[in-house]
Subunit: 221 residues, 2 copies
């Protein structure tokens, strides 16, 4: 994402709380790379439709995938979309109700959906998805076949219209309220990764490889 590409458009400009907004590539990459879960908004029959999915980033594009049988994804090419990633990092508890808030990192990406259709290109993107989430796993799996590839839709948005908002730190109370005997502070939240659960149908003696044990999401940037 070049410097010129990161200038805020009318749509991405963060209107309120300007100090929380940024548009630089490092900020956008930082949020997208920390959390695969995203929500993609489309317009379906004239109404907004927000669906959860998992995203990954390669260079200046954010990718997601789904079933070629999906009514949404089949019709997605060229559709306007907004892909939003949010990590809720904490509940911010102030001395007044009004100043309660949330600590968070979020990224909104706007654009027109592009479809990855060439079979080789599509295979490479799915391999890259595995490399992002659990490096090394792709090579140990039963290889993807032509039928599966055909049944998979890979979509992407360019990152030339994206913005990031981040809030951190303690509450910001009205100055006179700091004298009140009310506990204020932050309850930190994070995504915990628990011990891998074996598939009951694993062959005897199988244990989770490093790429499973090392899988983490929601890392702090």
């Amino acid at each position: 994402m070049s410097q010129s590409k990161t200038a805020p458009s009318e749509r991405t400009r963060v209107r309120r709380l300007h100090e929380r907004g940024s548009y630089d590539a490092a900020s956008v990459y930082g949020v997208l790379d920390a959390m695969p879960l995203c929500h993609v908004g489309y317009i379906v029959d004239g109404k907004p439709h927000v669906t959860p999915t998992l995203q990954w980033r390669e260079g200046d594009h954010v990718y997601w995938h789904g079933s070629a049988a999906s009514r949404f994804l089949r019709a997605a090419r060229g559709m306007h979309a907004c892909l939003t990633v949010t990590m809720w990092d904490g509940m911010v508890m102030a001395r007044s109700g009004f100043h309660h808030s949330a600590n968070y990192r979020s990224c909104m990406v706007f654009g027109e959906v592009e479809m990855v259709e060439d079979a080789a290109h599509k295979t490479n993107r799915l391999e890259a998805m595995f490399d992002v989430w659990f490096p090394g796993r792709w090579d140990v799996l039963r290889p993807i076949n032509a039928k599966e590839l055909k049944a998979t839709t890979v979509l992407r948005l360019p990152l030339n219209e994206a913005s990031v908002k981040i809030r951190t730190g303690p509450p910001g109370d009205d100055e006179e309220d700091y004298a009140l005997p009310i506990w204020a502070g932050v309850v930190p939240l994070s995504t915990a990764t628990d011990e891998p659960v074996d598939d009951p149908r694993n062959l005897p003696g199988m244990t989770p490889p490093d790429h499973v044990r090392n899988f983490r999401v929601g890392r702090k940037v």
Copy 2:
């Protein structure tokens, strides 16, 4: 939500993977009550816009709030919206790339945004929000004043058009792939609540009350 209200509309019907979909009130309440973080999709200038916020439920409505200065929220009355809550409960790792998946609980609510405007009604909703998230805190705070109430917009959607999708359990591999010596299983994910962090400007001797220590999100239903 009466039985008749929970019949799936054309929009909420889960088209794919029917076994994952449900429309009953208990399922909808279960997801909404477990996770305040939501993503609300609106149409702004003809394009989808997905913003993160925190929701709470009272009866057959889902509520959220924001600043009365927000360009979105000011114009939101009667706008079509889609509010989606998602908990990502695990990464599902199969023996083929194709059958990798995610365990999750998600709820989509569709409707036209209603604004809560009456001052007393608005105050009661904000108090209810505190009662949902940290019962007892509202009463110990510096009370809300007229200026703050005016600066706060409270919005809601009825829950008469909502659907839930849930995936749990191990991967579903192709039958012949179960013979392969590949580890498969689930890496469970959850929202962890860490120790409260005191505001550095707390008065001496203040400690987090029970409603802070007991705050949890993303509970399993």
